[in-house]
Symmetry: C2
Subunit: 197 residues, 2 copies
Amino acid sequence: MSRSAPLGRGTKVRTAVLAATIDELSERGYAAFTIDNVAQRTGVHKTTVYRRWPDREALIAEALADSVATDIPIPDTGSVDDDLRALARSLVTWANSASGRAVLAVMVSTAAGLPAPPNSARHVFRDRIRQTLPVVTRAIARGEIPDATDPAEMIKTLVAPIYFRVLITGEPVDDNTADAAATLALTAARAHLFAHD
Amino acid sequence: MSRSAPLGRGTKVRTAVLAATIDELSERGYAAFTIDNVAQRTGVHKTTVYRRWPDREALIAEALADSVATDIPIPDTGSVDDDLRALARSLVTWANSASGRAVLAVMVSTAAGLPAPPNSARHVFRDRIRQTLPVVTRAIARGEIPDATDPAEMIKTLVAPIYFRVLITGEPVDDNTADAAATLALTAARAHLFAHD
C-alpha cells in the first residue's frame, strides 16, 4: 500500500467493520451474510477485512462480543441490588435495539436448525457471563448475599426471564421486566437457592 | 373414494399426519417443510391433508399444539410443589427429545429472522401457558401460595430457566434443572414476587 496509515486508522477500520457486520446481520440475516458485503458497506478493501478476520465466523464472533461488551457494560455501583438492576436494564435496552435483535438472531440460529456458527455465538455468551461474575463475587465479599452463592447460576437467573420473553413469548420487555428479574435473582440468592453443593 | 372408511380412521390419519409433520420439521426444518412431503411420508393422499389443513401454517400450528399437549401434560397431584416439579420435568424430557427440539426450532425461528409462522408458534405457546394456569389457581385455593399470585408470571418463571439453557447457553437440562426451576418459582411466589398490582 502506498498510502500512509495514520495513527488510529486500525481502530477506526475495526469499529467500522464490526458495526457493518451487525448491520448486515440485522438486515440480511446470518444465512446471507458475506465478508464481501461487509467490505463493500464499509468502503474497505476486502483483503483488509480478510487479513484481520480469516473467515466470517471469526468476524461474526468478534462483532457479537463487541456489541454485547459495549451495550451491556458491567456495573460496579457498590450495591448488588443496583448492579443487578443496571445489568438487567441494559440487557433490556440492548434486546430492544436493532443490533441486539441481530445478535439474538444469530444466537438462536443453532436452535432453529440453521446453518449457523455452531459454537461461536454460545462462546460469546458464555464469555460474557464469565466476565459478569465479579458483580456476584463483589456482593459476596460485601456480605450482601450468602457466601456459598454460585455466581453463574445467579447471573443466569437474572437474564433468563428477559431472554425468555424476547425469544419465546415475544412479549415486550422494559425496565419493569428488568427490575423484576433483579428482584427474582436477589430473592433466590438470599434464600440460598444458588448454594454450591 | 371407493374404499369404506372404518370408524376411527379419521383419528388415525390425524395422528399419523401430525407425527409426520413433527418428523419433517425435525429432519428438514421449517424452511423446507411442505405438505406434499408430509402426505408422502404418511402414505395419505395430499388432498386428504389439504381438506383438513388448508395450508402449512395451520398444519404446523396443530402439530406443535398436539406435541406440547401430549408430552407436557398438566399435573394435578394435590400439591403445588409436586405439580411444578412434574411440569418442569416433563418440559425437560420433551426439550431433550427429537420432537421437542423440532418444536423449539419453529418457536425460535421468528427470532432468528427466518421465514417463519410469525404468530402461530407463539400462539401455541401462549395457549399452553393459559391451559397450565389451573396448577397455580388450585395452589392458591389450597392456601399453598399467596392469594395475589399472578398465575402466568409464576408459570413463566418456572419454564424460563429451562428454555434459556436449551436455547441460549446450550447447556444440558435434566431433572436437577427441573427441580431447581420449581424451587425458584415457589420461593418467588411465597416471597410475593408475583403479586398483582
